[in-house]
Structures are given as C-alpha cells and as structure tokens.
C-alpha cells in the first residue's frame, strides 16, 4: 500500500498531460484507430469470410507499431527541454511511453478479440513494443540533450529511425519490431522462435540500459553545468 501511494505520488508529480503531449496521444489514437475500425468484421456468411480479401489486421499492427515508435521518439527531445532533475526526466519519458500504450489498450483488446490470437501472444507483443518505444524515447532524449538545434534533432531523429527500421531487416533482425510482431501474430509455432524472441527482448533490454546510462551521464553533465551557472 505504501509503495502504491509512493508510485501514485511520483506519477502525480509528473507532467504527463500537457497540451503538447495530449495532442500526441489523441493523434496516435486517431491514426491507429482508422485501420482497426476498417478491420472490424461483421456477422456474415461463411463463404464470404473465406473469400480471399485484404486483411486490415496486419495493417493495424504495422501502423500502430510505426506510430508508437515515432511518438515515443518525439517524447525524448521534448523532455530534454524540461528543467527538472535527471531522475524526474528519465521517469517521465518512460511514463509517457507507458501511458501511450495504456491508452491504446482498448484497441489491442479489440484486436485480440477479432484476430483470435491468445492473450499471451498479445501481451508478449505489447511488452516488446514498450521496450522498443522506450529505446527510441531514450534515444530521442540523448539527441535532445546532445544536439540542441531543432533542425539537427529532426534530421538526426528520422535518419536514425529510418536506418534503424530498414537496417534491422537485414542485420540484428530480432531488434526489428515488424519482424518480431509478425512472429507473435503469425501462424507459426512460437516454440520454434524462442531463440529469436529471446535475442529481441534481451537486445532491447541491453539497449535501454545502455541508453539509460548515457542519458544519466548527459543529464548529470547538464546538471553540473547548471549548478556552475554555465547554462
């Protein structure tokens, strides 16, 4: 109970909702909701259900994954501008990623219901998505701290994002969210893919930790400069 109250206190002190971040959440829900609404089936005859047709469910997962990554990435530079303690900035950026996911939970619930995937598979995929989003949020924070110029930030963010997405199709494939989610939401057996998934989750945890350390160093340096009156 004490920990719960403490966690509540920490979250209450975070600025999770600002006019800027709120529009991020809403636009994320609108953009990812469109393919989901289009994927909703209705009561129909069996011969219509088995006819070959474009399935919107893979489009929903792809769009949602890409948007989640982009919005998570953008949380970083926004937090770099906050004049708060390093701990508060780190916690807040990760809390934003988590809130983005929590707000999309109704979508994933509908996705699970109409796709027929097991709850375990969906939870596994969401855990990956949170880790992946955290990576990019912390990466965005590093960019925001190292390159104050907004033009430099923009170029660097999206160059890295495109390189990261495309590059992981060919090397370190377990770090590609589209490939990993295609395993979770594919029709193959998971038991044959444990190695791939373990590498994916392990790799992401390592990247998050490395970025967390880097962010801590960068924020520490900035704090020292602030205390020294340089910034």
């Amino acid at each position: 109970m004490r920990y719960y109250a403490k966690a509540l206190d920490i979250v209450s002190h975070m600025e999770l909702v600002t006019p800027a971040t709120w529009s991020t959440y809403v636009s994320y829900l609108i953009l990812s909701g469109i393919p989901l609404l289009m994927a909703l089936p209705s009561t129909t005859r069996i011969d219509a259900l088995v006819e070959p047709r474009l399935s919107m469910l893979p489009i929903f997962t792809t769009v949602t994954t890409l948007l989640f990554t982009i919005y998570s990435l953008n949380f970083g530079p926004v937090h770099a501008k906050l004049k708060k303690t390093p701990r508060e900035i780190q916690t807040s950026v990760l809390a934003h990623v988590c809130l983005l996911l929590v707000l999309s939970l109704p979508y994933w619930t509908v996705f699970q219901g109409i796709s027929g995937h097991s709850i375990g598979r969906v939870v596994g995929a969401l855990a990956y998505l949170v880790l992946y989003g955290s990576c990019w949020a912390l990466g965005g924070l590093v960019i925001g701290l190292r390159w104050p110029s907004e033009i430099a930030q923009f170029n660097l963010k999206y160059a890295l994002l495109i390189a990261g997405m495309l590059g992981t199709f060919f090397i370190v494939r377990p770090l590609n969210p589209l490939l990993t989610l295609s395993i979770w939401f594919g029709e193959g057996s998971l038991s044959e893919q444990w190695g791939f998934l373990l590498m994916g989750y392990g790799g992401l945890v390592l990247v998050v930790l490395a970025l967390f350390v880097w962010v801590t160093i960068l924020l520490g340096k900035r704090e020292q400069l602030r205390e020294g009156g340089i910034v």
Binding site: S12, W22, S23, L29, R45, L99, Q112, I114
Partner: protein, 588 residues
C-alpha cells in the same frame, strides 16, 4: 599371441550377442495390393502388409503414403497411419484400405519406432491400375471369363469399404459357410451400397445351398441364414433339363417376397433378381452365364457423385457466423477517442488527470474484453453435419452417409475423431485456397482420427460412411379402416417431423420420441408443395437429392444425431440427418 586371439574372439562374440537385439528389426515381408495386385484409382483399395519381427516386442507405426501432384504441380500427400504391436518372433498381416489417387506416383510404406523411421519401401504401381471397376469371380475352377479377377474365397475382403472398386461379384461353387462373419457382413454392406452379386447356380447349387438355405426362417447371424436372405428364391432344387441342345442342371424354386424373375427361357425363370438396398442379387439357374451381354448392361447407378459431395460446400457456405457487432465496437472506440480528446482540457489542470484517463482506458478494455469473449462469440468452429440414413424395410443394416463441413476461425492442430467405416477429405470444386494435407490414423480399437492443421478463417470438408443397425421402421396396416401406420424408433434420438409416403401421397406422423412407437391413421394426406415449402434450406437440399425420387412406400424423418464426428471444444454444430426407410419388402 594366442591369448590375444582368444580375447579378440571373446570380444567379437560379446559384441555379436549384445548387438543382436539392437540389429534385429521388424521387416516388411510382403505387400498385397488390391485384387490380384490391381487397383482402381481414387477408390479405397485393400492392402495387406505382412510384417515379421525378430527383435523385442514393440509397438510400431505403419505408415502408407502417396504424394500426388495436380496439374499446377501442387503437391499433396495422402497418408494413413496404423499402430502395430509386434511380439518377438512373430509375423502379422496388417490389412487396411487406402485410396490410391495417382497411377504414377509410388506408394511409400514405412515402419516407424517412435519418431524414427526403421523400414521403408516404395512400390511402383504404374502397371497395376484399372480403368474400370472390377468384376470378381469367386470359387471358379479357372478364369472362365476374361473380364473378371478370380479371387480365392479366403481373400474376399472383411470390410465393405474394400469393395469400393468392385462392381460385380460372380459367385461360383462356394459354400457360404466358408466365409467368415466379417466377410459376409462386408459383402452385404457392399450390396446395400449398390453392388451386384451374380450367383451362378446349376451344378454349383449343391455346394452353394449347403444344408440351411431352404430353412424357412433362418437366422441372419448364421452363414446360411445370411445366404437365404440374399437369394431371390426359397426351396431351391436342381433338376436336369435340356437347354440349347444339351442337358444341364437347372435350378428351380419359389420366388421370395420382393424378388422378381428377371429373365425367362422356354417359359421358365432363368434369372431371378432381388434388390438389396441399392444393390442386386441375381441368381442364375445355370452354372454359366447364358445372357451375358444383358447382365453386363446392368443399370447400376453410380451412387457417389461429385454433386452430392458439393452439397455440404454449398450448405456450409450459406451458414452465418455471429461475430461481435461492428457498430457497437466502432461506437465505443470512437466515443473513447472523443472522450480522450475532451478530457485533455480537464486533465491538464489536475495532477492526477492522466491517471484517471489511463484508468478509464483500462476499464474500457475490460468491458470490450467481456463483450468480445461472451459465449455468443467465443466459438472457434462452426460446423454443419449433413447426413442421410438410408434403410430398407426388412434389411438389418442401414447405410449412413455424413458430410461434415467446418469453418475454423482460429489456427489449430486438429485431431478430428470419426466413428465410421470410411472417411475421406472432400475438396471444393472452386477452392479459394489450397488446404493442407490430412493424415488418417486408425487406432487398434478401430477409432479413426483425421489429423490436419486448420488455418485462420478456413473451411474443411469431409465425408464418412458406415453401416449401422437399422433401428427404425414402419408398417402399414390396411386391414383396418382407415389404414393405420405403425412407426417405431428404437434409436437414442427423436425422429422429427416424420412423414409416411404412400405412392404420391404424404401423411404426417409427427415427431416420434426416442425408444418409442406410434400408430397414426392415414386419413388426410398433406399438401406436398406446402410441406416442401416449410422445410429449411438444408432439409430441402437433402430431400431433393435423396427423397424426391422415391416411389412406393417410405418413411421420411429428420434427426439431429448421432453424429459420427466427435464434437470439439468451442464448436457450434448443426446436425441435419435425413432418415429414409424404403418399404421395399413386406412393408405393407
């Protein structure tokens, strides 16, 4: 040096002794395919595999498979697996039926110990196929007719399904008592399904009649009771007669109820005919075929048509799957997004605003989860079992066919259990996507499992056939006025909406409960077109195929079970079974 040689010798003996049980393996001694090695493509073919084992007692898996390629070079594998227990120093004949689809691809026969393949052989079948169904000659001195395959009585099949490639059986000098009960049941099942048995009597009659064929009411279970049931005449006796300028042994007898004289010569019956189900027994008064050409032009219908099999494709396709309402889900999700957008105005001013918004998202997720997983929408499979039970008054067995179509919403590794004599996979004529292979497994207890992988939102179709005890019947009593019909139902399910057909007239009998008997007066005939109009689409479909061509008296009804297909968890099944009992012999 001598010591070393002795040690070496001892070592070799030791290795030989310890290795012997490991090296001793079961062997495939012989493989007997079809009738005299010949088969009809696409039909179930009897195969006997002789196995021997010099090793330890073990359970093996015998697998028969054939890879078939279609015109698009798409490959599919027909596979059958049977567990076989082989004791030490034993030899066993394993008999089964396998549908050989391709005339060019070899037949693979393998023996597995667990997952390990231990014996494998491929059989070239290219020169063994037949273009037309077989005619078998049983117990003839030599191959009297070029168009039949002479078969030893002991080699006659023990399952009616093994006769699928056989059109006729010619019965020569054979005492029916030489056939086992299984062989007799198999021959009878084949007859019900449309086979033609031609008994050449004359000089063969003494052997054929044995001692019991002329008994007035012989027991069906005995060989001669069974034989008497099949013969169109009773009290048969052979007399010498002159025919075509020479003296021959000529069979005479009293025509049985339901039988007729098919051919006459010099004013005397030479061929009698007795319908058995869809089949016929033709008894020839001589030991040779005098009217060969006429017999060969028999009007045997092909009871298996592609159209019949496509009924299930059509009927399942027309079924509706209830899915969660798109409107409700859309409305909830849109309201949620609008709510999030509006709550932002409030949330930015309150410290814990974001938490309340997150909490509302979690609550909505739980509500949606409850709705999506309500029992109404939680079915994984939607299936339809269309069946026809065809019985003939006076026959102890009925022929049951069941077409099973199933729609899968999810991906599964399926093991569909079916209690039938035969089961096959049906391919829709216009398949929208290729379906994967189905492997059949028959357990030692005779249970049949069809193993396959179901894809998401896919359909599969199967057909099963079996011979079952006829537990339904009717009897019209015309000695009273108005005439009455007595209908009994000794099955475990009610016979619904039963009607009795008398010529062109239909009389409603109503629903007859399980294990019950009803008597109804045949007073007011019902309007046939109205009755037809009231039938559901599936019922009408079955009636039009199987019931519309009926003439004479018959009992028609509907049952929703029992289904030969085992019910899976999370399956919603509709069973529609047309029960059709023809009053062919002594019904009135």
């Amino acid at each position: 040096m001598r010591q070393y040689s002795f040690v070496l010798l001892l070592g070799l003996v030791g290795i030989a002794l310890t290795a012997e049980p490991m090296l001793a393996q079961p062997r495939i001694e012989a493989i007997d395919i079809g009738f005299n090695g010949r088969f009809l493509p696409g039909a179930l073919t009897p195969i006997v595999v002789s196995l021997s084992n010099t090793g330890t007692t073990q359970v093996f898996d015998l697998e028969v498979s054939q890879e078939v390629r279609d015109f698009n070079e798409r490959s599919s594998v027909e596979r059958l697996r049977l567990p076989v227990s082989l004791g030490t120093e034993t030899r066993k004949n394993i008999s089964f039926d396998f549908s050989i689809k391709s005339v060019s691809a070899p037949l693979q026969i393998k023996l597995f110990a667990g997952p390990h393949e231990i014996v494998s052989t491929a059989i070239d079948i290219r020169e063994r196929w037949s273009e037309s169904p077989f005619s078998l000659g049983v117990a003839f001195q030599h191959n009297q007719m070029p168009y039949w395959e002479t078969v030893e009585p002991e080699k006659l099949p023990k399952r009616w399904t093994s006769y699928q490639s056989v059109q006729r059986v010619y019965w020569g000098r054979l005492d029916p008592g030489r056939l086992s009960a299984a062989q007799r049941a198999a021959l009878y099942g084949w007859l019900l399904r449309g086979g033609e048995l031609i008994v050449l009597s004359g000089d063969n009659w003494y052997e054929q009649s044995g001692t019991g064929a002329t008994v007035a009411r012989p027991s069906w279970a005995t060989a001669h009771g069974w034989w008497a049931h099949l013969l169109p005449i009773a009290n048969g006796q052979v007399v010498p007669r002159e025919f075509n300028g020479r003296e021959v042994s000529w069979l005479e007898g009293d025509l049985r109820a339901g039988a007729r004289v098919a051919e006459e010569a010099d004013g005397r019956p030479i061929v009698w005919e007795l319908p058995i189900g869809y089949g016929n027994v033709l008894l020839v008064a001589l030991d040779a075929l005098p009217l060969e050409a006429k017999l060969l032009a028999s009007s045997r219908e092909d009871r298996e048509t592609v159209e019949d099999d496509q009924l299930i494709v059509k009927a399942l396709g027309a079924m509706t799957v209830r899915l969660p309402s798109r409107e409700i889900l859309s409305a909830l999700l849109i309201l949620f997004v609008v709510g999030i957008g509006l709550s932002g105005l409030w949330a930015v001013r309150h410290a814990r605003g974001a938490l309340w918004v997150a909490f509302s998202a979690v609550v909505l997720s739980l509500v949606l989860f409850g709705y999506l997983h309500s029992p109404e929408f939680s079915k994984d499979r939607y299936s339809l079992d269309l069946g026809v039970l065809l019985g003939w008054q006076g026959e102890p067995l009925a022929w049951e066919q069941s077409w099973y179509g199933v729609f899968f919403r999810r991906l599964h590794n399926e093991a569909l259990a079916v209690s039938s004599d035969s089961a096959k996979v049906l391919e829709p004529v216009r398949a929208t996507r290729p379906s994967g292979d189905v492997s059949t497994e028959i357990t030692p207890a005779g249970a049949r499992y069809l193993r396959f992988r179901s894809e998401r939102e896919s359909v599969r179709f199967f057909k099963a056939e079996r011979m079952v005890e006829l537990l339904l019947g009717f009897w019209v009593d015309r000695t009273v006025s108005p005439p009455h019909v007595r209908v009994y139902n000794q099955t475990s399910v009610p016979l619904q909406d039963a009607v009795v057909q008398m010529g062109e007239e239909l009389y409603s009998v109503g629903t007859i409960a399980a294990q019950a008997e009803v008597v109804r007066p045949l007073t007011a005939a019902i309007n046939k077109s109205e009755w037809l109009h009231r039938l559901s689409a599936e019922r009408r479909m079955l009636w039009q195929r199987w019931g519309s061509s009926l003439s004479g008296s018959a009992l028609l009804g509907w049952a929703d079970g029992p289904s030969p297909w085992a019910m899976a968890d999370n399956e919603e099944r509709t069973i529609i079974r047309l029960v059709l009992i023809e009053g062919t012999k002594g019904a009135e």
